[in-house]
């Protein structure tokens, strides 16, 4: 790809027009063109190249496609592109064929032949790769007819699954860098930009929910020898991958926003702090920065203006606490990522003691489109205090796991039962966990809660960065709390007392209870300690670490009590309280269970009497359960 310096808005818009023509085949609204293209039998095949699909061998599918197309000399007619995450990661690898918008799922490298022969050459869809709607029990050809996508509104993810993230011109074709171009040409006063952002009502998507416009305003108000724009891409919540998908699928939206932020607060240097665990995101960012530099969108005199800005990457090295902004700043300077008390806030004292504006990836990704379409447009979406959309990573015991973007105010019920397709295996919903280790568990009776910043914190959870884990009757709420606490405890930086020692003590109480060694007084000590850790910890990690416990103590206290008083785990998860039992009625005395038992805890006489598990010997490995031909063994 030959990239040349873009010296003016006019040159930018020419690139936009040229590129758009090349890729308009992908947009269904151009109906006439679509037919025309089809007659010429030209195709664009977009292969999801997000981490999810790459892990399930999506890369090999793409390579195979490219190879086969060359072999069959179809290069003129069929072009293969990488693209960002469609969100339906459970069904990956996913490919999308334009112009007919066919959505193929679980594509294996060996399916490539089939696709080329039937779809491309014969014009017939490959049915076995289509999505089968569980509700209608029929194949769905078009992406927009799938429930999963139906209730979504993709703003931050607008380009994911649409463009090739490794080609800056495709981003430009989607009106990319237009907001920046307009600002630089019109020399828009920073105050106007901030007003627009404020008007949009955009709030920090990293979890805090602080007004982005006001944050920019503060950053502008402090002078410094140097000033910095920092992008927090240290997405560490277990189960959350919103930011990664944006960086992998649309890195330029973040870069454009950071340049605009630099212009607004009068900074010439930005850094993206990204987890080293995200190699694909790092690679895409490196490519994007390189291309932006080549086109002069980063560097000196951007688009012929007198504004200069450059961007570099800082890689994290595996510490969750670095998502906290003061810790992130320490880490970006190459030190231990330990938070410090605020005030002073980074807007005043940040990187190298200089004023620093720090926003999260998803927040930045919203900026260009807000500035293009206006703050009012964005503010028209969402609830009174939480505007726009939010990206969630949907996971757990739910049929459609993946990445979704919905307007603020969408109810949990809609997300779980419509977009998510309900609970896996028709089990009973128990709780939804939002906000990862900082959030809480929401019970069934609150399923109609409309998700926004306030309503979630009102019910003891929080928005967090957007992890949304669904749990069913087989999940033990005590075990889930223990899991999150173990995480928080392990990731505590060790600086302040309540967090470093307090979370360990909380964890120990939980472990005692889960082993059946708890006392009722423990619940009181636990709750008190949770409040004190929350109240007096130094940074957000410690201040929110007790949330999973406090919320489960509030909504699922009976499970705690069952562990303490009855010494049982109602969900059958906590190993120490489990009993593996063979049903006398069902047992056919085949003896298979006794053979797989690693500790010889099962005895019985073959073909004569039912087998029996000796509880004092049993180590609850449950190896026998799946081996029983008549499902006679169960956990009690």
């Amino acid at each position: 790809m030959e990239l040349k310096n873009i010296n003016s808005v006019e040159e930018l818009s020419k690139i936009k027009d040229d590129t758009y023509n090349k890729i308009k085949i992908r947009f269904s609204e151009d109906n006439e063109d679509k037919i025309l293209e089809k007659e010429l039998k030209k195709y664009h095949i977009l292969v999801c190249s997000g981490t999810g699909c790459v892990s399930s061998r999506g890369n090999m599918v793409r390579e195979r496609l490219e190879k086969e197309i060359r072999k069959r000399k179809l290069e003129e007619r069929v072009k293969v592109f990488k693209t960002g995450c469609f969100g339906f990661c459970k069904l990956g690898p996913i490919i999308m064929i334009h112009p007919d918008e066919t959505f193929y799922i679980k594509v294996e490298p060996q399916d490539v032949d089939n696709i080329l022969t039937n779809h491309i050459v014969k014009g017939e869809r490959v049915e076995k790769l289509l999505y089968k709607s569980p509700t209608l029990n029929q194949f769905v050809e078009n992406m927009n007819e799938i429930d999963f996508f139906n209730n979504q509104m993709r703003i931050a993810l607008r380009n994911c699954g649409v463009i090739n993230p490794e080609d800056i011109t495709e981003y430009i074709a989607m009106d990319g860098y237009k907001a920046l171009g307009d600002i630089l040409t019109n020399k828009t006063p920073p105050k106007d930009i901030i007003d627009n952002v404020k008007k949009s009502g955009l709030r920090g998507r990293g979890g805090g929910g602080f007004s982005t416009g006001r944050k920019w305003e503060y950053a502008l108000s402090y002078d410094g020898e140097r000033k910095f724009v920092l992008c927090n891409a240290d997405e560490g919540d277990p189960g959350a991958f919103m930011d990664r998908s944006i960086l992998e699928g649309d890195p330029h939206s973040v870069i454009e926003a950071m340049i605009i932020a630099g212009y607004t607060i009068n900074s010439n240097q930005g850094y993206v702090y990204v987890r080293a665990e995200y190699p694909i995101a790092v690679e895409r960012l490196e490519i994007a920065i390189e291309q932006a530099r080549k086109t002069g969108l980063l560097g000196n005199n951007i688009l012929g203006s007198d504004f200069s800005f450059d961007l570099d990457l800082k890689l994290g090295a595996g510490a969750f606490v670095c998502g906290e902004e003061t810790a992130l700043i320490q880490s970006a300077m190459g030190l231990r990522g330990e938070p410090r008390p605020r005030p002073p806030f980074p807007a005043e004292v940040g990187l190298w003691e200089m004023p620093t504006l720090n926003n999260n990836v998803e927040t930045f990704a919203n900026i260009p489109i807000i500035l293009r379409k206006g703050g009012d447009w964005y503010a028209s979406i969402g609830t009174e205090k939480s505007k726009g959309t939010k990206v969630f990573a949907l996971a757990g015991q739910i049929n459609n796991t993946g990445l979704i973007e919905v307007p603020m105010g969408t109810s949990l019920r809609t997300i779980i039962y419509e977009i998510g397709g309900g609970i896996h295996d028709n089990k009973r919903f128990k709780a939804a966990q939002t906000g990862g280790p900082s959030g809480g568990c929401i019970p069934e009776e609150l399923l109609d809660t409309k998700i926004d910043f306030e309503s979630l914190s009102d019910i003891g959870s929080m928005m967090g960065s957007g992890g949304l884990i669904i749990m069913d009757e087989t999940d033990c709420m005590l075990d889930i709390s223990r899991f999150y606490l173990e995480f928080a405890q392990d990731e505590s930086c060790g600086k302040c007392v309540p967090c470093s020692i307090g979370t360990k003590r909380i964890l120990e109480i939980l472990e005692r209870i889960s082993k059946g060694e708890g006392q009722m007084e423990d619940l009181e000590i636990l709750e008190d300690l949770c409040y004190d850790v929350k109240d007096s910890s130094l940074c957000g990690l410690g201040q929110t670490a007790p949330n999973p416990i406090l919320s489960t103590l509030k909504f699922f206290k009976d499970e705690y009590i069952a562990h303490i008083k009855e010494k049982t785990c109602p969900a059958g998860v906590c190993n120490n309280l489990l009993k593996v039992v063979i049903s006398d009625e069902k047992c056919v005395s085949c003896g298979i269970c006794a053979r797989v038992c690693p500790v010889n805890a099962i005895t019985g006489e073959q073909k004569k009497s039912p087998f029996h598990i000796h509880q004092d010997v049993c180590i609850k490995c449950c190896a026998c359960i799946p081996k029983c031909p008549v499902d006679a063994i169960y956990k009690a």
Binding site: V321, R340, P344, C493, V497, P498, G502, T503, I525, S537
Partner: protein, 610 residues
């Protein structure tokens, strides 16, 4: 009227009005909430706070309710602003403080009754003040063990509360960078790299970390029992020497006001403890001055390329130079410290003069310093095969020994130093404070070079507590630039400026500890119940006491000390003579910043004499 003045002050932006516990107070605007509250007699407890050195808000014991803030805030790092409303003693606040201290105790080896800091421990104090009566949390305790592979400082990791004060003082004041937090979460430990012993890293053994430590996680290595053993041995002739600064600090161990001059009581106490002779290190300080002053004169007149001359009486500073500035080792004065000179002379001149077998002489130093323990163990520090100094006790250890023996220190009568180490000048005295060595040396160098006595020997420039000071002195027709640094970080600044050519000088005195020996790592630790918060200011009082004694001294110049003259006449001949060189001068070792790479021999304890 008064209101108006405060309004006027306010207009000059000097003060702000804040509301603490329902009452308005006018406080200085550049203070933290904790400091501001102290100015109006509200004591907010804290464990990690060390004014201007460690303000990081980690212990969370100083939390308060700040109106408009969802969480409790650490008052030690919260800046006061006009209109701030805080509550410092609500149930919520007290509960959080109690929880923080209880959590610390749940991870602390609570052996208070047998702990070296029993009754002088900030954690114990905080627990008592908060009325903690039980510890409901049981669980895993951090266990990083106990390190004491060196002669001076021991580290009990199981008593560390992670306050980082040791690290702050080591990094910011001493600039030795010994400590860092390692690992994270509950496993975090404030330790030297790779959790090495202090002897294996670039530690100068100054003991400032010991002073800063709120608990017994860092303490001096006690040698009381070793000393008691030799005292009980009738074969041994045990002499003790006391450093100048001890005389103004030992009283603090017995509740006397800071700066009390207790030399007489101390001598009586030492005699009652069973020492055969009590000597004044101050006297050999005078001798050090003559030797070092002569060295200065020799270099000024004959070897200007070996300028600047760097003082060498502080073992912490010597070790610092060995670790961080090996290229400056030729500039270090080769003169031994007064402490080692006294040791060398007792086993040579004194032994000959009084006809005592040097093998039977034991020299015990009472020093304000942990590095002196290290210095005494250095292989260079011996004369004719005998250790110069056999044991070193810090001020704190001597205080404990006196208590153990049931001596009513405050009411003891005054004793006198024993011959022949009994006379000393005011110049020798002020060795114990920063600037003192240089001042004393200049007084003598003036005489050596010009042959005239200096009429007004008060160099105000050289005193006081600002960390790094420059001055010029006219020595005859030669004007020399002098520098006084205390806190090795300040010495580093001076040497870096010298290296870059920014600021040249001819003579520098360095005391490793801020304030000089009066602030030494072996001095009484304040911060218990009687002195609520550790600060550096008490060092002024101790230093002032020394200077006042100097002022009242009849002899103020080292070369006027008759005993010093006697030593030269009877034994050494003249300054820098061959004999002086043999017994009173030493050499240095390049150590570098990664000593653990060379696998230095671990410390094996003091050699048993015989």
């Amino acid at each position: 009227m008064e209101n108006k003045t405060s309004e006027q002050i306010k207009q000059q932006d000097q003060t702000v009005t804040i509301n603490i516990d329902g009452q308005d107070y006018e406080v200085h605007k550049n203070l933290s909430l904790l400091e501001a509250a102290r100015t109006v007699s509200i004591e907010i407890p804290s464990l990690c706070y060390l004014k201007e050195i460690n303000e990081i808000g980690t212990c969370r014991v100083c939390v308060v309710e700040v109106e408009g803030s969802r969480n409790l805030q650490a008052s030690c790092v919260y800046p006061v602003v006009d209109g701030l409303k805080v509550r410092t003693n609500t149930d919520r606040v007290l509960r959080a403080r109690r929880t923080a201290v209880t959590l610390l105790l749940s991870n602390h080896h609570r052996e208070c009754l047998t702990c070296i800091r029993n009754l002088n421990c900030e954690l114990q104090n905080a627990s008592d003040n908060l009325g903690i009566r039980n510890i409901p949390f049981t669980g895993e305790m951090q266990d990083y063990g106990f390190h004491d592979n060196n002669p001076a400082i021991q580290r009990d990791y199981n008593k560390c509360i992670g306050c980082r004060r040791c690290m702050a003082i080591c990094n910011k004041i001493q600039e030795c960078y010994v400590y860092s937090p390692l690992n994270r979460g509950l496993n975090t430990v404030i330790a030297p790299a790779f959790q090495k012993d202090l002897s294996e890293v670039s530690c100068i053994m100054c003991g400032q970390c010991v002073l800063a430590c709120p608990t017994a996680s860092l303490s001096e290595k006690e040698h009381i029992n070793e000393v008691r053993r030799v005292l009980a041995d009738p074969e041994k002739h045990v002499v003790v020497q006391t450093a100048p600064s001890i005389q103004v600090t030992l009283g603090e161990m017995f509740g006397m006001p800071i700066g009390s001059f207790v030399a007489g009581k101390m001598i009586t106490a030492l005699k009652r403890l069973g020492f055969d002779k009590v000597f004044a290190t101050d006297m050999t300080a005078d001798l050090t001055i003559i030797e070092e002053g002569s060295e200065l004169m020799a270099r000024v007149l004959h070897e200007p390329q070996k300028l600047p001359l760097l003082s060498s009486c502080c073992p912490g500073w010597v070790k610092y130079a060995e670790h961080f500035y090996p290229e400056f080792l030729p500039h270090l004065s080769t003169t031994k410290s007064p402490h080692e000179m006294c040791g060398a002379l007792t086993k040579t001149w004194y032994a000959q003069k009084y006809d005592i077998d040097p093998a039977k002489i034991i020299n015990v130093g009472i020093m304000p310093c942990t590095a002196k323990k290290y210095e005494a163990a250095r292989p260079e520090m011996q004369s004719d095969g005998y250790r110069n100094v056999d044991y070193v006790l810090t001020t704190r250890e001597l205080g404990r020994m006196i208590r153990q023996n049931g001596l009513d220190f405050v009411n003891l009568s005054d004793g006198k130093y024993d011959e022949p180490f009994d006379q000393y000048s005011g110049a020798g005295m002020i060795f114990g404070a920063t600037g003192g060595v240089l001042e004393a040396a200049v007084r003598t160098a003036h005489k050596l070079i010009t042959g005239d006595e200096m009429s007004v020997p008060d160099y105000e420039d050289a005193r006081g507590q600002s960390g790094l000071k420059y001055g010029t002195v006219q020595l005859g027709d030669r004007k020399i630039t002098i520098v006084i640094a205390h806190g090795t970080g300040n010495a580093k600044k001076a040497l870096d400026m010298f290296k870059s050519g920014e600021k040249k000088f001819d003579y520098m005195e360095v005391m490793a500890c801020p304030g000089g020996c009066v602030g030494g790592g072996g001095q009484p630790i304040l911060g218990g119940r009687d002195h609520k918060h550790i600060s550096l200011s008490y060092r002024h009082n101790r230093a002032d006491a020394l200077y006042n004694i100097d002022k009242e001294s009849k002899i103020r110049r080292s070369h006027e000390n008759q005993r010093v003259k006697q030593i030269y006449d009877e034994f050494l001949g003249e300054p820098l003579s061959d004999i002086a060189d043999k017994y009173l001068h030493t050499s240095y070792v390049k150590r570098g910043q990664h000593p653990y790479m060379h696998k230095e021999k671990p410390y094996e304890g003091y050699k048993e004499t015989d």
